[in-house]
C-alpha cells in the first residue's frame, strides 16, 4: 500500500533581520493510512513550521517554502492552486492546534463553526449540518450537545474547546489529522482525556494522525513511528519501540536521557553526561544549550 502522505526534501525559510532562518531544512518522511506518527523535538526545532508547510499555511513574507514535494493521496500539494488547497484543508486533512482559542472564531457559536465547515466542504443544508454537529459532539464525548452548540468559545474550558477542535477536524471525514501540541496547554488529567480520545477516534475511524509534541511520554504511548527533529532536520526516525530502546543519534540519546521519569526512583544525573565534545559539536548554535550553559 502506498503511503497516505509523503514529504520529500521539504525546505522552508524565514527572512529575518538577522538573516535567513532555515526553519525546515530538507525533511522527508511518510505516513501510512490510519497510522499515528509523532514529530518530536525541543522548541524551535521546526516542528510547527514543518506542519504548516504541509498545509501551505506559512506566512509569506517573511516565510517561504523553497523546495520539496508533499504527496498526499496521489497529488503533490505544492502544485495545487490556492482554491484546491483551501478545499483540502479542513476536509481531506484536519488540523488541531495547541491553543484552540486562536483557531476558533470568538464571535460565532460552537454550532455555527461546525455547521459552516460542513456546509462549505460537504454542501450539506442547515438541517443536515445541525444534526451532524450533534453527532460530532457526542463522538468527542461532550454531553448536552444542544446546549453546547449554542455557546461561544470563551464559555468553554480549555479541554472542551480542544474537544470542539477535534470535532471540527473530524467533521468532513478526513484521511489525516495534523495535531500540533494539541494538549500542551492543558492540565495533565485533561491532557490524558484528550489524547485517549484522539487515539480512540483515529483508530475507530481509520484516520492517520501526525502528532507534534515535545513530550516523549506522549510519543511512547500514542505513536507507532517517530521522527526526531533537531535544527530543522529529522535526525532520527523509526518505530517507536526501536527508537526508545536503541537510539542512535547523539541528540536522541541526550533527549531520552534528559526526560525525568515518574515510574522510577531518583534516576542517575539528569543532564546528559558522556562524550561532551561530541555533543557540543552536534548542538552548537542552538537554543538547546545542553552543554553550553551547564554548571
Amino acid at each position: 500500500m502506498p503511503p497516505l502522505l509523503e514529504v520529500k526534501e521539504l525546505h522552508t525559510e524565514f527572512r529575518t533581520g538577522a538573516g535567513v532562518v532555515r526553519a525546515v531544512d530538507g525533511i522527508s518522511y511518510t505516513v501510512d493510512p490510519g497510522e499515528t506518527v509523532a514529530i518530536v523535538g525541543e522548541s524551535g526545532s521546526g516542528k510547527s513550521v514543518g506542519a504548516l508547510s504541509i498545509m501551505r499555511l506559512i506566512p509569506d513574507p517573511p516565510g517561504r517554502i523553497t523546495g520539496g514535494e508533499v504527496w498526499f493521496a496521489g497529488r503533490d500539494l505544492m502544485t495545487l492552486s490556492e482554491e484546491e488547497m483551501r478545499r483540502m484543508r479542513g476536509s481531506e486533512i484536519g488540523m488541531v492546534f495547541q491553543e484552540p482559542m486562536t483557531s476558533l472564531n470568538p464571535v460565532l457559536t460552537i454550532g455555527r463553526q461546525i455547521t459552516e465547515t460542513l456546509e462549505q466542504h460537504r454542501g450539506m443544508d442547515r438541517a443536515a449540518a445541525d444534526q451532524r454537529a450533534v453527532e460530532l459532539l457526542g463522538l468527542v464525548g461532550i454531553a448536552d450537545a444542544k446546549r453546547r452548540l449554542e455557546q461561544y468559545p470563551h464559555q468553554l474550558s480549555g479541554g472542551m474547546r480542544q474537544r470542539i477542535m477535534i470535532a471540527i477536524a473530524l467533521a468532513c471525514d478526513p484521511k489525516l489529522i495534523i495535531a500540533d501540541e494539541p494538549t500542551t496547554a492543558l492540565d495533565v488529567t485533561i491532557q490524558a482525556q484528550i489524547l485517549e480520545l484522539m487515539q480512540k477516534l483515529t483508530r475507530q475511524l481509520g484516520v492517520a494522525l501526525i502528532i507534534i509534541t515535545h513530550n516523549l511520554g506522549v510519543v511512547a504511548r500514542y505513536a507507532q513511528r517517530v521522527n526526531v527533529m533537531y535544527a530543522g532536520r529529522i535526525v532520527e526516525s523509526g518505530a517507536a519501540a526501536a527508537l526508545y530502546h536503541n537510539p542512535r543519534h547523539p541528540y536522541t540519546i541526550a533527549l531520552l536521557r534528559s526526560v525525568p521519569r515518574l515510574d522510577r526512583p531518583r534516576p542517575p544525573p539528569l543532564a546528559p553526561t558522556g562524550a561532551p565534545g561530541q555533543l557540543s559539536a552536534c548542538f552548537r548554535s542552538h537554543e538547546l544549550d545542553i552543554t553550553a550553559g551547564a554548571a
Binding site: V188, A192, E196, G217, S258, R261, P265, A271, G293
Partner: protein, 332 residues
C-alpha cells in the same frame, strides 16, 4: 490539626491557611457575589534544608500559597510561622529583613527580567535595594561570582536578557534570587517553561545550590515528573486543599488518594514497552469552580471511589502510614 512531625521547629509552618478572593458584580455598586476559595484550609510544615514539592493542576492554589508565604497576599485566615514568628504580624522593619531571607524564582524568565536592564544590574539590584555590598566594585564582583555559581560565564553581566536562551535566563533569575543569601526560596514553576534537557540542568543546579548554601525550597510545579528528582516530600493540592502529603518516593510508588493516583496515571511513561502494557482510564470530568466547590470531599464528583458520605463530610488529613497523610475517608 497540624501536619508537623515531632522534629525540631520547622523553618516554615502554615496553619489553617485560607485565601479567599472576593468576586464582585456590577460596575458602579459592586456587589459581593461570592469568593474564589483559592486556598481553603492548608496545613504544612517545611523543615530547614528540606525541599517540599507542591503539585496539582492549574488553579488549585499553588501560586496563591507561595504568594501568601512571600507576603504578597494577606491571607483571609490562618497563620504562617517563619522560624516560629507569625509573618502576618511583622512590622515594616522586620518585613524588610524577612524579604531578604525569603526569595522567589518565577516560571517565566522572559517576563520576570526587565528587558532594558543588563544582567549585571538585574542581579545587583536587590543588593542596592537592601543596602548590601554598597561599593560598586564589590557588588560587581559579587554579581560575577553569582553568575559563575549559576553556571554562566561572568561576562554575561554585560548582556541583555534577550541575548540569552531560556535556560540561561532562568539561571539569571536564580542568581538574582541568591543575591541576598536567602534561606528559603519559593520556586514557582521554575522549570515549567523550559525544554526537558534544560529543565534537567536547572534542577541539577537548584540541587547543587541547596547543598552548597543549605537552602530550603518550596518547589511548586504542575508537572509531576520534575518533582521526583528534587523533593524530599511532596504535597498534592486539589481545589485549594492538600489532599495528600508524603515522602517523595512513597508518594510516587504508593499513592493513596484517588486524585493523586489519577494524576500519576495521566502522565505517560517515556517507554513504549511500558505504555503498550499499561491500561488506564483517564479520570472523568474537569476541576470544578473554586467559587462553588463541591460540598464534602471536593474531589467526589470525579472520584471513582466516592460513596455517599463523600458528598457530605469534608475529609481531614489522616496519617495512614508513617509520614504519609491522606485526606480521603474511603482509602485505608
Amino acid at each position: 490539626m497540624t501536619v508537623a512531625s515531632a522534629e525540631a521547629q520547622p523553618l516554615l509552618q502554615v496553619r489553617g491557611l485560607r485565601m479567599h478572593f472576593p468576586v464582585t458584580e456590577g460596575m458602579i455598586a459592586r456587589r459581593h457575589i461570592g469568593d474564589v476559595k483559592a486556598v481553603d484550609g492548608v496545613d504544612l510544615a517545611i523543615q530547614r534544608g528540606e525541599t517540599l514539592g507542591l503539585v496539582g493542576e492549574s488553579g488549585c492554589g499553588k501560586t496563591t500559597m507561595g504568594r501568601c508565604i512571600l507576603r504578597l497576599e494577606k491571607p483571609t485566615a490562618g497563620e504562617i510561622l517563619y522560624n516560629g514568628i507569625d509573618i502576618a504580624r511583622l512590622d515594616r522593619r522586620e518585613l524588610v529583613a524577612l524579604r531578604r531571607r525569603i526569595q522567589v524564582i518565577f516560571q517565566d524568565p522572559y517576563s520576570s527580567l526587565n528587558p532594558r536592564q543588563k544582567v549585571g544590574s538585574i542581579i545587583g539590584e536587590p543588593m542596592m535595594v537592601h543596602g548590601v555590598e554598597k561599593d560598586p566594585r564589590r557588588r560587581a564582583d559579587r554579581v560575577r561570582e553569582l553568575l559563575s555559581v549559576c553556571g554562566l560565564n561572568p561576562n554575561f553581566a554585560d548582556r541583555y536578557p534577550h541575548e540569552m536562551s531560556g535556560g540561561q535566563r532562568q539561571r539569571v533569575g536564580i542568581a538574582r534570587a541568591l543575591a541576598l543569601n536567602p534561606e528559603f526560596i519559593v520556586c514557582d514553576e521554575a522549570v515549567s517553561a523550559l525544554d526537558v534537557s534544560i529543565q534537567a540542568q536547572i534542577i541539577n543546579l537548584l540541587e547543587d545550590l541547596r547543598d552548597k548554601f543549605n537552602l530550603t525550597y518550596l518547589f511548586i510545579a504542575h508537572d509531576l515528573s520534575v518533582v521526583r528528582h528534587l523533593c524530599q516530600r511532596v504535597a498534592v493540592m486539589y481545589l485549594g486543599r492538600v489532599v495528600e502529603l508524603a515522602e517523595c518516593d512513597e508518594l510516587f510508588d504508593n499513592p493513596l488518594h484517588p486524585y493523586t493516583k489519577a494524576l500519576l496515571a495521566a502522565v505517560p511513561v517515556p517507554d513504549p514497552a511500558v505504555e503498550a502494557e499499561r491500561a488506564f482510564q483517564p479520570v472523568r470530568g474537569e476541576v470544578p469552580s473554586p467559587i462553588n466547590p463541591p460540598p464534602g470531599c471536593v474531589f467526589h464528583p470525579r472520584c471513582p471511589l466516592a460513596i455517599e458520605q463523600c458528598r457530605r463530610v469534608r475529609p481531614e488529613l489522616r496519617e495512614l502510614r508513617p509520614g504519609h497523610w491522606v485526606a480521603c475517608d474511603v482509602v485505608s
